[in-house]
C-alpha cells in the first residue's frame, strides 16, 4: 500500500494516467478499432516532442527567464541541412545527421553568445536568433522539398513488435538523460544553478560553462529532431518545427518540471508528450472540428495545470 501511495505522490505519474485515460476514451469511442495503431502512431509522434522537450527542460531548469524559443526555427533549418547533405543518398545518412547536429549546436552556442556577451534576456535573445535562423533557412532551403534517402526514411518508420524503433531509442535516450540529470556533475550543476545561481557560483560551479553546454545541448537536440522529422515526414520544410514552440514548453511543465527552475523531471516529459499526442488523436477520432480541437486542448492544459497546482513558494 505504501508503495502505491508513494507512486501516486510522484509528480510525473499523473501525465501517464492522463495519457492512458485519453487513449482509453479514444478506444471506447472507436469500440476497440485501431487501438494498437493509435498507440504506435502516438509513440512515434511523441518521440519528436520528447527530444525537444528534454532540451527545453534542461534550459528551463537553469532558472527563471531561461527558455529556448529558437527551437522551431532550429528544427526547420536542421531538417533542410540534413536533407541537403544526405542528398537522397543512403551512404550520406551519418554525415547528414552530423551536419544537422552541428547546425543545432552552432545555434545553441550563438544563443548563449547573445545572452552572455550582449546580456540580452534569453527569451528575447532566442526569439531574435529564431528570426535570423528562419531567414537563413528560407534562403538556404529555397522552398525545395528535398526527399530523405530511402534508407533513412524507412529507418524512422521501423517497428519492432509494433513498437516504433524511434520510441525505443527515445526511451533509452530519456533514461540516459535522467541519469545525466540526477547522477552526473553536469546535471546536478544545472539543478543547482536553477535553485540559486549565486549560491551555485559561490560553491565553485562553473556556472557560465554549464549554461553554455545547456544551450548547446538544447540546440543539438533541436538539430537531431529536425533531421528525424524530415525522415519521418519524408521531406524538410521551413515550418516543420512550428508546433514545437508551444508544445516543447507545455510538455516540460505538464511533466512536472518547475518553470521557476531547479527542479526537473525526465519521465514526466514522456508522459506529457504521450498525453498531448494521444489527446490530439482522441479529438481527431471524435471527428471534432479544428476549432473545437484547439479549444479543448487549451482547456485541458489549463485544467491539468490547475489540478496539479503550483509549487509552493520557497523564497
Amino acid at each position: 500500500m505504501d508503495r502505491v501511495k508513494k507512486l501516486l505522490a510522484t509528480p510525473w505519474i499523473w501525465s501517464f494516467v492522463g495519457a492512458l485515460l485519453v487513449w482509453v476514451a479514444a478506444i471506447v469511442f472507436t469500440r476497440g478499432y485501431g487501438a494498437g495503431g493509435m498507440l504506435t502512431a502516438g509513440l512515434s509522434l511523441a518521440v519528436f516532442m520528447v527530444i525537444v522537450g528534454i532540451g527545453q527542460m534542461f534550459v528551463i531548469t537553469l532558472g527563471p527567464g531561461n527558455v529556448d524559443l529558437s527551437l522551431p526555427a532550429n528544427i526547420g533549418l536542421a531538417s533542410a541541412v540534413a536533407m541537403k547533405v544526405m542528398g537522397g543518398n543512403d551512404s550520406m545518412i551519418a554525415v547528414g545527421l552530423v551536419a544537422a547536429l552541428a547546425s543545432g549546436i552552432a545555434i545553441g552556442v550563438a544563443n548563449y553568445g547573445l545572452i552572455r556577451l550582449l546580456r540580452i534576456p534569453p527569451i528575447i535573445a532566442t526569439l531574435s536568433s529564431s528570426f535570423i535562423i528562419l531567414s537563413i533557412d528560407i534562403s538556404y532551403g529555397r522552398g525545395l522539398q528535398i526527399k530523405p534517402p530511402p534508407g533513412f526514411a524507412s529507418f524512422t518508420n521501423i517497428q519492432i513488435f509494433g513498437l516504433p524503433i524511434l520510441a525505443i531509442l527515445g526511451v533509452i535516450f530519456a533514461l540516459i538523460c535522467g541519469i545525466v540529470l540526477q547522477r552526473m556533475i553536469y546535471g546536478r550543476s544545472v539543478l543547482a544553478i536553477g535553485q540559486n545561481m549565486r549560491a551555485a557560483r559561490l560553491a565553485g560551479i562553473p556556472v557560465e560553462r554549464v549554461r553554455l553546454i545547456t544551450y548547446a545541448l538544447s540546440g543539438a537536440l533541436g538539430g537531431v529532431d529536425g533531421a528525424l522529422l524530415a525522415g519521418y515526414f519524408r521531406g524538410a520544410s521551413v515550418d516543420i518545427g512550428n508546433e514545437y514552440l508551444l508544445s516543447s514548453i507545455a510538455v516540460v511543465v505538464i511533466g512536472g518540471t518547475s518553470v521557476a527552475g531547479g527542479k526537473a523531471n525526465v519521465p514526466g516529459i514522456w508522459g506529457a508528450s504521450l498525453f498531448l499526442v494521444l489527446l490530439l488523436t482522441m479529438l481527431n477520432t471524435f471527428g471534432v472540428s479544428a476549432g473545437v480541437r484547439l479549444l479543448l486542448t487549451g482547456l485541458i492544459i489549463v485544467g491539468v495545470i490547475t489540478a496539479a497546482g503550483g509549487q509552493q513558494v520557497t523564497r
Binding site: 531574435s128 535570423i132 531567414s135 528560407i138 508551444l246 484547439l294 479549444l295 489549463v302 497546482g309 503550483g310
Partner: protein
C-alpha cells in the same frame, strides 16, 4: 567624506547619470535612428501620407504591447495575447457588426476571463506561462469557431474612426501619443499605479503593507484584457476584415516591444512610453524600412531579428552596473 574628496567623486556620478539618461532615451533614440534611415533612403516617406501608411499597423501593435506590459509589470508573461487579439478581431468583424449587444457582451466576457486568469494564477500559484499557453489554444479555437473562413467586415463606426485624417499630424501618431500619456499617468504617476508596480517589485512588501495582491493580479490581467480588446478592434478597423490567425504574431511582437522599450521581465520595472516607442520601432522596422533598403524578402525576418539584437546590445553596453 571630506570636502576635498567631493569634486573627485562627482565625476563618476555625472558619468553614471549620463549613462542612466542614455538608457532612458535609448528606445526613443533607436526610433529616431530608424526614422532617419527611412528619411535618407526615401525622403518622400517622411510626409503626412507616408507616416499614415508606415505607422498604420502601429496602433494595434502598441495596444497589444501595453497589454503585455501590464502582465510583465507583475512578473508574469502572457503567451496568449496574440491569439486573444485574433479572437477579438473575429468577434469584431462578425457579431459586433451584426448584433452589437451580443458582440459587446462577448468582448466583456473575454476581459472577465482575463481578470479571472489573474485570480486563478494567484490563488493556485500557477506559472503564468503555462496557463496563458493553454489559453492561447482556447482563444485560437474560439476564433476559428467564430469565423471559420477569413472574412467578415468591421463595423462602420470603427472604420470611420481608424480612417480619421486629422489636420497636420497623422492619426497613428496622435493615437500613439494619447495612449502612451494615458497609461503613463495611470501607471507611473498615480498612487495605486505605484502599488501595482510594487506588486512586481516586491510583492511580499506590498502584501505586508495591507494591499491585496489578488486584487493587483486581477486588475493587471483585466487591463491586459481591455487593451487586448482595443488592439483587436483597432486591427480590424484597419484591415476591415478578419482571419482567425490575424493576431498570432502579436504575442512575440508584444514581448519584444516591452523589452525594446526599456522594460524588464522581473521587478515591476516597465515604461509605458517606452513600450509604445518600442512598438512603433518594431512596426517601422517590420516592413517599410526593409523594403526601402532593398533587402531581399528572404532576409526581412532576419533583419528584424538583427535590429532587435542591435538595440538590446546597445542597451547592455550602456551598462546596468551604474543603475
Amino acid at each position: 567624506m571630506t570636502a576635498a574628496s567631493l569634486p573627485r567623486a562627482a565625476a563618476p556620478v555625472r558619468l553614471m547619470n549620463l549613462k542612466r539618461l542614455l538608457r532612458t532615451v535609448l528606445p526613443a533614440l533607436s526610433l529616431i535612428l530608424i526614422l532617419l534611415a527611412i528619411a535618407w533612403l526615401n525622403p518622400r516617406a517622411i510626409s503626412y501620407f507616408g507616416f499614415n501608411l508606415m505607422l498604420n499597423l502601429a496602433i494595434p501593435i502598441a495596444l497589444a504591447t501595453l497589454a503585455q506590459m501590464f502582465v510583465i509589470t507583475i512578473n508574469e508573461l502572457d503567451l496568449s495575447i496574440g491569439t486573444f487579439v485574433g479572437f477579438v478581431g473575429c468577434v469584431t468583424a462578425t457579431w459586433l457588426r451584426e448584433e452589437p449587444l451580443l458582440g459587446i457582451a462577448v468582448l466583456a466576457g473575454g476581459i472577465a476571463v482575463y481578470a479571472g486568469l489573474g485570480a486563478l494564477i494567484h490563488l493556485r500559484n500557477l506559472p503564468s506561462i503555462v496557463v496563458t499557453l493553454g489559453m492561447s489554444f482556447v482563444w485560437q479555437g474560439l476564433a476559428i469557431l467564430t469565423l471559420p473562413k477569413p472574412g467578415g467586415k468591421a463595423p462602420d463606426w470603427l472604420l470611420t474612426m481608424m480612417g480619421l485624417k486629422p489636420p497636420f499630424v497623422p492619426f497613428p501618431i496622435i493615437a500613439a501619443v494619447l495612449i502612451a500619456v494615458v497609461v503613463h499617468f495611470g501607471l507611473m504617476r498615480s498612487s495605486y499605479g505605484a502599488v501595482l508596480r510594487g506588486a512586481g517589485g516586491n510583492g511580499q512588501a506590498i502584501g505586508r503593507a495591507g494591499w491585496s495582491l489578488l486584487k493587483t493580479k486581477i486588475i493587471m490581467f483585466g487591463l491586459a484584457g481591455v487593451f487586448g480588446v482595443l488592439s483587436g478592434m483597432a486591427l480590424i478597423g484597419i484591415t476591415t476584415s478578419a482571419d482567425a490567425n490575424i493576431g498570432n504574431g502579436y504575442t512575440l511582437l508584444s514581448i519584444a516591444g516591452v523589452i525594446l522599450g526599456g522594460g524588464e521581465f522581473v521587478g515591476g520595472r516597465v515604461s509605458p512610453i517606452g513600450a509604445v516607442i518600442g512598438a512603433l520601432t518594431l512596426a517601422l522596422a517590420a516592413s517599410p524600412l526593409l523594403t526601402f533598403m532593398h533587402i531581399p524578402p528572404d532576409w526581412q525576418v532576419g533583419a528584424n531579428g538583427i535590429i532587435l539584437i542591435v538595440v538590446l546590445a546597445a542597451r547592455a553596453l550602456l551598462g546596468r552596473r551604474g543603475a
